[in-house]
Amino acid sequence: MPIVSPGFTGRRQSPDVQLPPGQYLAEDFPVLTAGPTPRVTTDRWQFTINTEAGQRYDWSWQQLIELPAEKITTDIHCVTKWSKLGTRWKGVSLDVLLEDVETAADFALVQSYGSYTTNLPLEDLVDGQAWIAYRYDGEELTPEHGGPARLLVPHLYFWKSAKWVRGIQLLLEDEPGFWESAGYHDYGDPWREQRYQGD
């Protein structure tokens, strides 16, 4: 049995840290952006769910923050290969926002201020898997990290956790979003390393 020095195994990690394949541990919180950072003030902020039947459900900022919120501590995994462990958020579960929404949709297209979109199955937004997050690490969510509010869906690659979220279109058929229509995987499970189409 050959002895392998830890010095030859790349980035040193605690033995109890489990990362998805191909990921490395980031200590900072990298800022990725595909365009200018939208500056959306909370008095203009609105969140809308549109159903496949054309029904519309709206929340103002005040209405959002008056809903029951949860504190979430979770690991996040970016498709550009950094992972960050134990990130702390506060937000409203999508279960709360979808509670009174009547829909037969199987898919969701998440829409952001600044026109970014991302798609995912509706079943990945419910059952305690996704939130509209508006605080990070005890502070208001900054615009660079998607403030005033972003989607948080941490079991998928972080491009699915749309910054500057403004709404969700519920759909009967899947519709690829910004990165999903340009080569990235439609689902994006980091534990199955679903980075690109065909993975």
Partner: protein, 85 residues
């Protein structure tokens, strides 16, 4: 996060095309603005490279580099006028 100019696209595009596309003139499908690829606003700190129109900031080009493939999305570009030698 600030952008850089379209000359930053030269390396990635040279991997795909036989000519230097940064000298090409593109027309934005959003606002109709015509300008050189080198004049685009390029955001590189992202899962792919995103080039935006300097006039209306709409996306005119997206390039994703996979392990053994690249995806080039030009739906934001009406056309590219490419000078040939």
């Amino acid at each position: 996060m600030s952008h850089v100019d379209g000359n930053a696209l030269a390396g990635d595009l040279r991997e795909i095309f036989a000519v230097d596309l940064t000298a090409a003139t593109g027309q934005c499908s959003g606002c109709g603005y015509k300008g050189s690829v080198a004049s685009l606003r390029v955001y590189q700190n992202a899962p792919g490279v995103v080039a935006r129109c300097p006039h209306c900031e709409e996306v005119v080009l997206r390039l994703v580099r996979g392990r053994d493939r690249a995806w080039l999305d030009l739906r934001g570009t009406v056309s590219l006028e490419i000078p040939l030698p």
